[in-house]
Amino acid sequence: MLHSSGTYYDGNTSRGVPVQVVAQGDGRVVLRGEGLERDEALADLRLEQPPGHAQPCLHWPDGGMVELADPQLLPLFANRSATRIQGALQWTERHPAGLVAALLLGIASLTGLVVVGLPLLAAGVSAAVPLSLERKLGTTVLAELDKTLLQPSQLPPATRMRLQGLLKKIQPLPPSRRSLELQLRRSSLLGANALCLPGGVLVVTDGLVRLGSDDELLAVLAHEAGHDHHRHPLQMLVRGQGLALVAGLFGDGGKALQGLSQTLVRNAYSRRFELEADREAVATLRRWNRPPEAFFSILDKLERERGATKLPSILLTHPSNQEREARARAGLRSLPP
């Protein structure tokens, strides 16, 4: 015979009555207090245990409730399915091992989401977006950039023709069957640079054109075409949205953490994309029987122009030149000669 003491509230008044709850062997539960005697089947009673340290409550079918002062009766309810789910939750919320389990589960599912889930989702979504819509997006972005970062190009017509010729060299070749569009711009803020916008809109700055030889410019264009071939701009957009959603799951807590970790993850995605595009650059040079060194030399020239950074790579959107060169050479070795 198990028995507990507690306070009985009948649900009709706020009056509390001190009671004894006795579980008898025959599956009945008897409740006794001042002017009070109730008898109920154990199976009809419901146990509720709020999270954290708080008294468990025993509910009668008619709405009466006992706030139990001790845990003596709890084993009687241990094998009910509702109690079992609550128990599992409480184990994770209370036990030290539960804390570790929750941490591991959280880290594992976050990592899975960020490393596998989001990229898969982004690949699926960007494959489903029709080229016309993507191109529209690209021109919208370009129009926005024209208002802020970019000015009209000042290159002489002959140079422009030369660049369009270079574009033709990468244009019709597989694997990139999408048509590319070359846009020349001047930019005091971006300096020597090239961008790939959604829908195969490539932007090359005057500074870069003045800096590079034909082979080097071919490599840069091929790098940007590689971004387009893998739909990197669109994928980045989708992954970014997904990341924002994942960060939203954390609620109000950890806003500072969210911003920082989102940037770090975004940078990691971007570095992976750069390496993927680099492979296309050296592969294109190989296809036209040009030395792959042209790509590495333009990378070095750009670094000299901007000044090398000492920041660790996790803070950067592009891998270091040493890493890019090493990875690109490794990629070349795996290509058919």
């Binding site: 706020s14 709020p50 340290h53 209370r94 929750a102 941490l103 959280g106 799951l249 950890g254």
Partner: protein, 395 residues
């Protein structure tokens, strides 16, 4: 033991006024206590977070309910905790239904606007009018839906809150429409308060507080609210100097910049002065909002009557300011990980400075009709939390 109270508030003549009510020391009063522990809540928070991430957000209703249940159970009055009796599964269903409904409406009005726009592409005056009309329609639709959801959410949360096994309640089934109408008016008033440069704001704050309190009941006993619009006006008027100080802080720097900004030598020190002014404005703004929050809470609590029960709140602006500043600093330096500590500590401060008297009267309340309120609205948002975050009366 006190005799049971009938469902009507006590006599009207007992309104207590004045900030330093000494009678409270003699009355047999009892404070709300808060027994939450940071370590315990940290683990609940972390387990919730892990499960929410692992289930791609499906666990969110459970997480929200469990964390609310924790805070309710740890909030104790006369040794008894509060209860939040909610089935998270019902919230999840509500989430989906309302989420899909709202996004359908959103898509529909977007489509309508873009169809109108493309149908009359070279924009004339009439076409602009058409787009304007459809946008207005969308806003009105949102106004209607959100205010209904807000009322339902308040009703649901109140009906699921219990103390000593008695339900709280908010409005009744037949009152639903009038509650909705009142909410529509409240939102419209709040929008109108913007062009009034805040002149309307004390009145809106008073209306909102009154709406929240006078429709609430514990068991069969209704809450009453005795504050007048004049009380709120006085409150905001007394806070006005701080607000003016905040708004005026950058003014000298701006004036000097306009006068001497074209002289190179003056530019750097003036910009520095401007930055200083902006910082001062921010600081005074925080002080202003803390002062207002504390004073409004004291006024509100002493204007609430529940049967024979009276309430007394002793929040002070200085303590709220210290609380807010340290909380933000700790949150920033812990990269947000100190969130559970911040929540526990804020709840403790806010709750333990509320006194209730006479303590003996807690026993004498009668239960009212129990209502079945749909979980739909509460599932959609915790609107009450976000909109009424200003006040902590949703016990």
């Amino acid at each position: 033991m006190a005799a049971p109270h009938d469902g009507h508030p006590a006599g009207e003549g007992t309104t207590s006024t004045g900030e330093s009510d000494d009678p409270w020391r003699d009355l047999q009063s009892t404070p709300l206590s808060f027994s939450g522990r940071t370590g315990e809540y940290f683990q609940i928070w972390l387990a919730n977070l892990a499960l929410v991430v692992a289930t791609c957000g499906l666990y969110t209703p459970w997480a929200r309910v469990r964390s609310r249940q924790y805070f309710f159970a740890q909030t104790r009055l006369g040794g008894t905790g509060f209860e939040y009796r909610v089935n998270p599964r019902a919230l999840l269903v509500g989430w989906f239904v309302i989420g899909i409904g709202l996004s359908l409406i959103g898509t529909f009005s977007d489509l309508l606007a873009s169809a109108l726009a493309s149908a009359f592409l070279p924009m004339g005056r009439r076409e602009w009018l058409a787009i304007l009309l459809s946008l207005t329609l969308g806003l009105v639709l949102q106004w209607l839906i959100l205010s209904w959801l807000l009322v339902q959410s308040m009703r649901y949360n109140a009906s699921r809150t219990l103390f000593r096994n008695l339900h709280f309640g908010f409005g009744s089934q037949p009152e639903q429409r009038s509650l909705w109408r009142e909410m529509l008016r409240l939102i419209a008033l709040a929008v109108l308060a913007i062009p009034s440069f805040g002149l309307l704001w004390p009145y809106v704050a008073w209306r909102w507080r009154r709406f929240q309190i006078r429709h609430r009941r514990f068991g069969a006993t209704p809450f009453t609210f005795t504050a007048t619009p004049a009380d709120y006006r006085r409150l905001h008027l007394r806070a006005l100097p701080l607000l003016l100080l905040s708004l005026g802080s950058p003014a000298p720097a701006i004036g000097l910049l306009v006068a001497y900004g074209d002289q190179q030598a003056w530019l750097a020190p003036l910009v520095l002065l401007l930055l200083l002014g902006i910082m001062m404005a921010f600081l005074f703004g925080v002080v202003w909002s803390c002062w207002l929050e504390a004073a409004a809470a004291r006024l509100t609590w002493r204007s609430i009557h529940l049967g024979p029960l009276r309430f007394h709140c002793t929040w002070t602006a200085a303590e709220l300011l210290a609380l807010r500043l340290t909380n933000n600093a700790v949150l920033l330096f812990s990269l947000g990980l100190a969130w559970p500590w911040v929540r526990i500590r804020s709840s403790r401060y806010r709750l333990e400075r509320i006194l209730i008297s006479p303590a003996g009267a807690l026993e004498g309340f009668l239960g009212g009709e129990r209502e079945q309120v749909s979980a739909l609205a509460e599932g959609a948002f915790s609107l009450e939390d976000s909109l009424a975050g200003v006040i902590d009366i949703s016990f």
